[in-house]
């Protein structure tokens, strides 16, 4: 074959391209490489959680220490009040309601700036003796320290409250009068400004705040910025909500602070002995706490990203060298094989055609009459040539489908194609003396399929039926439409398919054992092609068969809308 011609043939026949893409494979390879790094990413993320847990732990340790210290300081202050009230309750000035009582209390107040007031209320609650003269004559009957002192038998602590802009807590101790009946209640109120002083003394870390808040959401103390906050009631603040929801007397939680800054809080009850005790909290700014962790995370993330890039580059180049190049080589082999089959099949067609034509001329008597023996021999040769041509056609089609050649679906008429196929096989049907019946329905059966391949499919099914039905037997072909499909059925009374071989009947190159032993011709490609073509056209194919009784092969395709003008079908050569 001249080089020029061979080259042209390759170009013309070379339909290549696998059913899967190399790019997709490469992507999977890279994903696999990236997957190797997944544990490192998981470690990085879990590290973030670890840092967060560590920050919480630090808050738990350090924050709780601070708030406990505050609570302890308060406890000491309160503890000092009890003996003081005890002493006062026995003073003659108090018990006997002497006019000198208030002067005494005034001096006491001056010496102890931590007190808001010190004094005595009568059994009716009216204050008759006080260090702060503004308290004289005022009724303390509704003060919690007063009611609790009377309802109990001894020292009582009142509620923490903010009255007239000053946050304080009162304490009361009942005492007997000279006649043994209730003389009144001596009291002292502690100025909670001292809490702010405590906060200053415990040297809070930067960006942290100390807050004392009661259960109603009233802020009793806050450092820094006490002037702005103390006395305000913020029951809806997340901090207050979180404290209300707390089940334990002390702990740690995360919430926005009063100014909205996200904080980690440690809290404890200011006075654990009192059920309604306010809470003392210390809140650390989360951003400040986690700044180190954030920096570490970003550094690690950049490091890991760089590592990922390197791994992907290695996977790319290593994958090329170790895998992709090998696959390319294999694909080349596949492509060359496909081209070889394509070229060989095409080149077979020319000599087959020339032999067929010569036979045709001999049989037609164009070149003179033949003896019956000569005629018989030529007829035999002709049948063999047709088998050979069918094989070449099948190989070409299988090759085309295997190498991903696209079918050319178009509107076509299954009934018309079936008629044409039956017409082309009429000679063989007649020669075998088969009883052939066909029904094509009353109307066209419009489907979307490649007419060339679809006709070959019908030819394959019908040729099998004709070939494997004994002389004088019956073969039928039917095309019908219904339920949105066009269905073609070929029934024969032929050899049938052995039960055990039924699952393999559509395999490439498979020929049933009973057929192989009787007919040498046949490529084992016809049904394989039929299935491929039908399924690629969106249809279904199937069969039922009993050995020595016959087979029914069918396929169905979705009906399409009929073409606007009948006979507008584009005929292909």
């Amino acid at each position: 074959m001249p080089a020029e011609r061979r080259q042209e043939g390759t170009a013309a026949y070379g339909r290549t391209g696998g059913s899967w893409s190399l790019a997709g494979f490469r992507l999977r390879l890279l994903l696999l490489a990236a997957l190797v790094l997944l544990p490192l990413y998981i470690q990085l993320i879990s590290g973030v959680f670890g840092e967060y847990a560590a920050a919480r732990g630090e808050v738990r340790n350090e924050g709780l220490r601070v708030v406990r210290l505050v609570a302890l300081q308060q406890e000491h202050a309160v503890a000092a009040i009890k003996p003081l009230l005890s002493v006062l309750s026995r003073l003659p000035d108090v018990v006997n309601r002497l006019p000198t009582c208030s002067a005494y209390m005034e001096r006491l107040l001056k010496d102890n700036p931590g007190f808001g007031d010190v004094g005595v209320a009568g059994p009716d609650g009216v204050i008759y003796c006080a260090g702060d003269s503004r308290s004289l004559g005022v009724s303390a009957a509704d003060k919690s320290w007063f009611t609790r002192a009377l309802s109990g038998t001894g020292f009582a602590a009142g509620d923490y409250d903010v009255a007239s802009g000053k946050q304080s807590v009162g304490f009361g101790l009942p005492f007997d009068g000279p006649d043994g009946s209730l003389g009144g209640v001596v009291y002292a109120t502690q100025d909670l400004d001292t809490l702010n002083e405590i906060a200053m003394r415990v040297s809070l870390p930067a960006d942290s705040v100390l807050t004392v808040v009661d259960r109603g959401g009233t802020i009793l103390s806050r450092y820094p910025d006490p002037q702005h906050w103390v006395g305000k009631t913020v029951p809806d603040a997340p901090l207050v909500q979180a404290l209300r929801g707390a089940r334990l007397a002390e702990g740690v939680f995360e919430a926005p602070g009063l100014t909205g800054v996200p904080r980690l809080f440690a809290f404890t009850q200011l006075d654990p002995a009192t059920a309604s005790s306010p809470y003392v909290t210390i809140g650390y700014a989360r951003d400040v706490l986690l700044a180190g962790a954030k920096r570490d995370f970003m550094l690690n993330l950049f490091g890991l990203a760089a590592l990922t890039l390197i791994v992907l580059l290695l996977a790319w180049s290593g994958g090329n060298y170790l895998i992709i190049d090998q696959i390319r080589a294999l694909q080349d082999v596949e492509r060359i094989k496909a081209e070889f089959v394509s070229i060989a099949s095409h080149q077979l067609r020319t000599p087959i055609t020339s032999l067929r034509w010569a036979n045709e001329l001999l049989m037609s008597g164009t070149v003179g009459p033949l003896t019956p023996e000569q005629s018989g021999l030529i007829g035999q040769t002709d049948r063999t040539l047709k088998d050979l041509q069918a094989l070449a056609n099948d190989l070409l089609q299988v090759n085309a489908l295997d190498t991903g050649t696209q079918l050319h679906p178009e509107q076509t008429d299954l009934a018309r194609l079936a008629r044409e196929a039956a017409g082309e096989l009429s000679l063989e049907i007649g020669k075998k003396g088969l009883a052939f019946s066909a029904s094509y329905g009353d109307a066209p059966a419009p489907v979307i399929a490649d007419p060339l391949f679809l006709k070959q499919t019908i030819m394959n099914l019908l040729a099998n039926a004709v070939r494997y039905t004994p002389k004088g037997g019956a073969v039928s072909l039917a095309v019908e439409t219904g339920r949105g499909e066009a269905r073609l059925t070929v029934v024969d009374r032929g050899l049938g398919v052995p039960e055990a071989e039924k699952p393999r009947i559509f395999e490439r190159f498979f020929r049933a054992s009973n057929v192989r032993s009787r007919h040498s011709a046949g490529s084992g490609l016809g049904l394989y092609l039929a299935k491929a073509v039908v399924e690629r056209s969106g249809g279904r194919i199937g069969f039922s068969s009993r050995e020595n009784e016959g087979s029914t092969f069918w396929f169905s395709l979705p009906l399409s809308k009929p073409a606007p003008a009948a006979g507008s079908h584009k005929k292909r050569a």
Partner: protein
């Protein structure tokens, strides 16, 4: 008698088709390669050219191009006559001016003769 120029390098095919055409009343001229085809076309002015695509020296498409460019042969109808049945080849042949496209492996010799008659009718 109508002259038919058969451009075909396969001797056996050319022989069979030549006999069939002769029997049908045509005069069959055979050219085995592209250059001879062009020469014969100019000299003999056939009524129809049956042109194979796979040809030595010059392939069928080039022959067709030359035939249609040459004023002496551009009026002669050409039927491409190949074993190739790909759409792209058919489109290319039509573009270059072929009147018909036959896939010879799918036809009997009688069908070819019938098509020739139709083209000359």
């Amino acid at each position: 008698m109508n002259k038919i120029l058969l451009v075909e390098d396969n001797e056996s095919l050319a022989l069979s088709l030549g006999i069939a055409l002769k029997a049908a009343g045509f005069e069959a001229l055979v050219a085995e390669d592209g250059e001879k085809a062009l020469k014969t076309a100019v000299e003999e002015r056939p009524a129809l050219i049956l042109l194979d695509l796979f040809l030595p020296v010059m392939d069928g498409f080039k022959v067709l191009e030359h035939l249609k460019k040459d004023g002496r042969t551009s009026g002669i109808p050409v039927a491409v006559f190949s074993v190739l049945s790909q759409d792209s080849d058919k489109v290319e042949a039509k573009r270059l001016g072929a009147k018909a496209y036959f896939v010879k492996s799918e036809m009997s010799v009688q069908q070819v003769v019938d098509e020739v008659r139709k083209l000359l009718a």
